[in-house]
Point group: C2
Chain length 426, copies 2
């Protein structure tokens, strides 16, 4: 095996960050203990819902039956994206949210991860910051920066319901500042990993602060309405001149095909499109053609509300009930308000061991979650809170979630019993 | 429209380079003169061949009929690629070329353009060069470098058959040097735009020079055997420890799906895979699943030899005949040896105007080709030759190629008549 010398970019970008670094340990654990009753609540792969798979199968059949098949699959496409998909998005969003989008306000990317990669490096880099206004946030933002120092995350304020064992992160506007060196702003809404949905007012305030310097704000809507509509609390997308609304079809059942959709200002999108063109020509077109049909017919939005959302919302309820049943009310545990997404986020205040050690204990007890510190990319200051959380996936079966949470609560009960007096007093 | 501030990367990467900068002019010309008899010999989009489209349709039907559909399209995949495709490539190449590849020697990327982007920046960048050992070469290499100064192309030697009006580029090994600052080497074989096929000896010599410093050599095999087998001269892929053999399925009828295949050293591929993971998670899986079937069954290699190759080879013959029929033998015109690919490359020595001016004259006469200077990315020295060539596409119909070449030869005859005495004497 060769050991070719890497450039600075190579050294940065070939390193796996966040959850990806931990996935290796998880995969090895699952392999080493194959056959054992190990419950995996770490997965990010969405559930294959039969109705949703059927939708994509139907769209594929229609594509095969149409004379367009060759044009879609056997031709290079425009870098901006497949025109029928762009038009379907424009029509749907204009009608749904009373907007005045034109096709120039839409760009299709090879998945939304690549959208953040292109945007982060088109606007950020040496001396130009990429700001995550509310930490924790999506672990993948840690991997998109060619210049890692350019990523800066802002510590949030905590709204804690002590009696209800619930909490919610809020942007801390006292700490949130954008300057001449700010290149762009990114956050997910609903948030991976926490399930937080920033309020419309919070989003508008962040965007307004950024608008003072024409800074693009990318709102990662991978879990948002109208597709996959994985919001459990009412929410609407927020539009503003400097907001780029970023859709993914991955949680709408199409993660295998990489389709990201950016909606926003033409000037911002043009810069991202140029980057995309040079780096990869265009996004795959099969998924785009399927999405064009499913959006234009309304089927995707309908299934999102009637199938995808209730599926995960129910699992969140099961999980929350399991925690309440298994954890003493006198322990300082707090579940983040479940406002959307496919994960639950548990904060164990005064946890006497690190989240990594807790993860190891949980593995021993036969349940795998993701230690929370991996979700604070770009946070430069030490913060004990970042070592007191775990992410629990809602993609396992209801039965496994029930059993997994039972194991988890037993371990947490035991571990939390050893809290020191000093941490009790803190 | 906003005017957000770009980072250095953004300024570099959002700029369209090479042919892409000219495509705008071509598209505008085609739109402005819609309805006119304008023959487009500039296109890079491959012809949709009925037998090839049928292959992908058949594979799609099989995928739809299989229980794997959901696993392919409705799931995230491994960053390395879809396992059945990796295994099909390993089996096919081991059998075909008597190799000992394992799955660790294969990486699937979202198209081969992205493969060059990831590799160029993993191994090249500030102070680390990306070397194109034989200029001209694929225009897209001009767009992949985050640090544009890091691209260095080497001027070739010319082997000219004056009487036969043919020529061929050869690597100039007197000029070709790799140093501690060399990050990687890239070239296409068969070459876009020239149709040149570097000899096996030339490839081995380049690889051996690079091997002294463990420098990866990426051989862009987008037109090579075994698929799409667009070599018109016998050739075999060359394997060496530091060679990454890079396959594209775009000219095998699958450009709409972005599927690139890298075959080579595990250490090199691992760095590229990490970059890929962070930037875009994985390549789309539908195209990978189709390719897995078509490669495993042997159908793709068979159609490549029996349908794709003869189709373009015939067109090259038609074009060469048209040039011979239309251009005086006393003019210094030279067609690059047609050893493969989907383009022809014409050198007009002593052309009294620039290639850009010739392109404008040709447009007036109703035929569009691509001016050649766009294919010398990274060439730092002035070279008059780089302004004396045009690329002619073989993707138009035989009829249109005949008519287009007729128009082209008339313009060239007229323009070349004005050569100055000094250029005649040179």
């Amino acid at each position: 095996m060769l050991n070719p010398q890497l450039s600075d970019f190579g050294a940065t970008m070939s390193r796996l960050t966040g959850v990806r670094a931990i996935m290796k340990d998880i995969v090895e654990t699952l392999q080493a203990r194959a056959g054992e009753d190990l419950i995996n609540l770490s997965a990010g792969n969405p559930v294959i819902l039969p109705e949703v798979e059927q939708l994509w199968r139907d769209c594929t059949r229609d594509l095969l039956a149409s004379p367009h098949y060759g044009e879609v699959v056997c031709r290079y496409g425009a870098s901006q994206g497949y025109q029928p998909l762009i038009e379907a998005v424009v029509a749907d969003f204009n009608q749904r949210y009373d907007l005045h989008l034109t096709p120039r306000n839409v760009l299709i990317t090879p998945g939304s991860q690549s959208l953040y990669f292109f945007a982060a490096n088109a606007f950020g880099g040496t001396g130009r910051e990429i700001v995550l206004p509310l930490s924790p946030d999506y672990t993948g933002y840690g991997g998109i920066c060619l210049v890692p120092e350019s990523l800066r995350a802002v510590r949030p304020a905590l709204e804690v319901d002590e009696a209800g064992h619930e909490f919610k992160y809020r942007p801390d506007f006292d700490q949130l500042e954008f300057g001449a060196e700010t290149g762009c702003v990114i956050f997910s809404r609903p948030c991976n990993p926490t399930g937080n949905v920033l309020s419309e007012g919070e989003v508008r305030r962040i965007a307004a602060l950024a608008a003072l310097r024409e800074i693009p704000v990318l709102v990662d809507a991978a879990y948002a309405a109208p597709y996959p509509a994985l919001n459990f609390t009412p929410m609407n997308p927020v539009f503003a001149p400097n907001i780029v609304h970023c859709i993914s079809l991955s949680k709408a059942g199409l993660p295998g095909e990489r389709v990201g959709i950016a909606i926003g200002d033409e000037g911002i999108l043009r810069a991202i499109e140029g980057f995309l063109t040079n780096a990869c020509i265009h996004a795959s077109r099969y998924g785009q053609a399927l999405a064009a049909q499913a959006i234009a017919s309304g089927a995707l939005a309908h299934l999102s509300e009637t199938v995808i959302r209730p599926h995960y919302q129910h699992k969140f309820t099961v999980l929350a009930q399991g925690l309440r049943a298994g954890l003493s009310l006198d322990l300082p545990w707090f579940l983040h308000r479940g406002e959307g997404g496919v994960f639950a986020w548990l904060w164990l205040r005064d946890l006497p061991i690190s989240d990594w050690e807790l993860y190891q204990e949980l593995k021993q007890a036969g349940v795998i979650v993701v230690p929370g510190h991996t979700f604070f990319p770009g946070l430069r200051q030490e913060w004990s809170h970042a070592r007191q959380c775990v992410r629990i996936s809602l993609t396992a079966s209801v039965h496994d979630i029930e059993r997994g949470v039972q194991r988890l609560t037993q371990v947490v009960q035991r571990v939390m019993a050893y809290r020191t007096v000093s941490s009790l007093a803190s």
